[in-house]
């Protein structure tokens, strides 16, 4: 096996494949680099920058992959009763300082929610109200899925793609995966086989804004979710696993219900005492 690691999507992306598949690994990294370029919040030539520059009522042309991720995000928005909202996360994280201000003038100009995004076809979206979209809760998972598609499409029999903790394994074997708890300690290992695993935690990633503790995870009414435990979701697709960790952090019963339809489940973290 070879493992390569590159800094992409704001984190470290690892791709593991059998020896002799280096060109497929390169192609898989290129697919991830494409997601990075199109769906970065920070880069001012990304689709998200285009989207936030679009005036209310206008139609904007985006990359087909961005549309694909937006479709899934809007579906999750509907299914979660509005809890998962890529347009609410943007302003909330800029306000709390987890995302940069970029070219954003007044945050109060961005009043749109996911409900104000109308996908017209595979390349066009109409923006009913101005939106500040952040795909940080789903794009990493999508990038992992794309990389796996590329690897499998190029005949790689087994492999693992890990975008900073959101990963997907494929092939006829078990992959040992350590779960890093919210306090940064890995206590548990699971065997992954043909599935995606995503984890979220924010115990060690908090900051204060106007005296209130903030985290990079946003729940109902745009409020930060302060969750002291790691949340781990197993699903077929990494985009689902990634997105559902955000739902699970805010509302675990809802996440369990949704995962039953999307295919997957949240891992219950055993209490440490049960292993002593």
């Amino acid at each position: 096996m070879i493992t390569r690691c590159r800094p992409l999507l704001g984190t470290f992306v690892e791709i593991t494949a059998p020896e002799g598949h280096v060109s497929a690994v390169d192609a898989a990294f290129a697919a991830i680099a494409h997601v990075h370029a199109r769906m970065s919040f920070h880069q001012d030539d990304s689709d998200l920058a285009l989207l936030r520059k679009t005036s209310a009522g206008d139609v904007v042309r985006l990359d087909a992959e961005t549309i694909r991720v937006l479709r899934l995000a809007l579906d999750l928005h509907g299914q979660s009763g509005g809890l998962f909202d890529v347009a609410v996360v943007g302003p909330a994280l800029v306000r709390s300082g987890f995302l940069p201000r970029c070219d954003i003038g007044r945050l109060s100009d961005y009043r749109g929610t996911s409900a104000d995004l109308a996908i017209l076809d595979d390349q066009h979206v109409r923006v009913e109200k101005r939106v500040l979209v952040d795909l940080g809760g789903i794009a990493k998972g999508h990038a992992v899925d794309r990389a796996v598609d590329v690897l499998q499409g190029m005949g790689v029999p087994e492999g693992l793609v890990n975008a900073g903790g959101d990963l997907r394994a494929f092939g006829d074997r078990d992959w040992p995966v350590a779960l890093r708890d919210a306090d940064d300690v890995a206590r548990i290992s699971v065997a992954a086989r043909n599935c995606a695993i995503a984890s979220s935690a924010n115990l060690l990633n908090r900051r204060r804004h106007r005296g209130q503790p903030q985290s990079p995870h946003i729940g109902a009414q745009g409020r930060a979710v302060l969750c002291d435990e790691r949340v781990t979701v197993v699903a077929r697709l990494c985009a689902i696993a990634d997105a559902m960790t955000k739902v699970a952090m805010a509302d675990m019963p809802l996440a369990q219900r949704l995962l039953a339809t999307y295919g997957g489940h949240a891992l219950q973290t055993p209490h440490h005492e049960s292993h002593t």
Binding site: C5, P176, V177, I188, N194, S199, N205, T276
Partner: protein, 183 residues
């Protein structure tokens, strides 16, 4: 959405209690990174380079991060007489991590690619609970992660690659200050 053929649901993760050591991974050697970043090159020649204090100040001003070493590790990539670019191997030290990475830079100062060579975590992964320490005393804690592979797969809160991104900017500044004129 179909519910058939979903090995994911069958493959209920087997919970195994292990204590991960501080995460460490070696991905590539310098030589592998050179060829990965500039595959057309036939030769990589080490370039002895010593930055003057003025150059180091300039690099800091241009990149926003301090240049720690006065002697960056630089190679010139060539194919015959043609100069294809530069490879710089650098290290960034964060609050929790120590990362060695290689960056390919074109003759006109564009990033050709970045490869992580190794990643070391300086903290994290320790077993803090004494009951756990006792449980695992005398065992090689790394073993569970070495089944069929060298790199431990970790799922957890996302690690930021900000330090490396800032480092790459600094290497571009080294290029602009010194190498851009060196051909």
């Amino acid at each position: 959405m179909s519910h058939r053929n979903w090995p994911v649901l069958a493959a209920l993760p087997v919970l195994a209690v292990v204590a991960a050591p501080a995460w460490a991974a070696d991905y590539m050697t310098v030589e592998q990174a050179q060829h990965a970043l500039i595959p057309q090159a036939q030769a990589f020649t080490a370039i002895p380079l010593t930055l003057t204090p003025a150059q180091m100040t300039r690099i800091r001003q241009m990149s926003g991060t301090p240049q720690r070493t006065a002697q960056p590790k630089v190679w010139r990539a060539q194919r015959g007489a043609a100069m294809l670019g530069w490879i710089i191997v650098d290290e960034v030290i964060g609050k929790h991590e120590f990362i060695t990475y290689a960056t390919g830079i074109s003759p006109d100062g564009h990033v050709l690619g970045v490869e992580i060579l190794s990643y070391r975590e300086s903290k994290g992964g320790q077993v803090r609970d004494p009951r756990w320490r006792d449980k695992f005393r005398g065992k090689t804690l790394a073993d569970p992660f070495r089944l069929n592979q060298d790199i431990p797969n970790i799922s957890g809160a996302t690690l930021s690659s900000r330090n490396v991104t800032d480092g790459v900017k600094r290497l571009l500044a080294i290029h602009a200050v010194t190498l851009a004129h060196a051909g």
